[in-house]
């Protein structure tokens, strides 16, 4: 079965600083990958998803970008963080082989922008 790693677990950054969050997947090949943001007291908002290397779809216009340099690596970035970027960021995958109908989630990264 697949395992999703997210790094770092917690991050505190000043406004205007850059951001790089990493998600890596083990145990599956050619997964679909997703970035979600969960703001305090709110549900999950899909930010980006990717069906393959270099293929990124953006769901919501915003201050963030995503990249997929390798099959099982998904990166969320920003050049200049805003206060509104604070939240809990979750990476999810749909495995490429056996279970193609379910999203599985990583442990998340807590981002606080001050």
């Amino acid at each position: 079965s697949q395992t999703i790693h997210q790094w770092p677990a917690t991050l505190v950054q000043p406004v205007g600083s850059p951001l790089s969050l990493e998600c890596t997947v083990e145990g599956t090949s050619n997964p679909n990958l997703y970035w979600y943001r969960q703001a305090a007291g709110r549900g999950l908002q899909l930010l980006f998803y990717s069906v393959g290397i270099g293929q990124i779809s953006s769901e919501v216009p915003q201050n963030l970008s995503a990249s997929r340099p390798q099959d099982r690596q998904f990166i969320l970035s920003s050049k200049k963080l805003l206060l509104s970027d604070s939240g809990f960021y979750l990476c999810a995958c749909v495995p490429g082989t056996v279970d193609t109908d379910t999203q599985y989630f990583g442990p998340g990264t807590r981002l606080t922008v001050l």
Binding site: L46, T102, F105, G108, R110
Partner: protein
């Protein structure tokens, strides 16, 4: 428009009592339905899912959910709640596979001793 509504933001039940969390959806096609649980500061764990067939589905940790097409509902139930069930619960709908999920706002469950 496609949407998921979880009418109850917070629910408090006593340990050992039964539980039902409500989920209503609006979706044009036949939906794939999911329930996830999130403990504080953690990622989401899949409890159960419904794609087709028997409308009563069993999940992990003693949870079950029933799909009612006529009511556009997919309510989550557990006959006897344990203190460790305290968490946030999310209902989601989507086409499955490579599709994107639409999540409800979540229901926070508190369990009284």
């Amino acid at each position: 428009a496609q949407s998921v509504t979880q009418p109850d933001i917070h629910i408090t039940v006593s340990e050992g009592a039964s539980l039902e969390l409500r989920c209503n959806y609006s979706y044009g096609a036949t939906p794939y339905l999911f329930w996830y649980v999130q403990s504080p500061g953690q990622g989401l764990q899949l409890l159960l899912k419904y794609f087709s067939g028997d409308t009563l589905v069993q999940g992990i940790k003693g949870f079950e959910a029933e799909f009612k097409r006529s009511q556009s509902s997919f309510n989550l139930r557990k006959p006897s709640v344990h203190w460790s069930d305290a968490a946030e619960y999310f209902c989601a709908v989507g086409p499955g596979g490579t599709g994107k999920l639409i999540f409800g706002q979540g229901t926070t469950l508190q369990v009284k001793p």
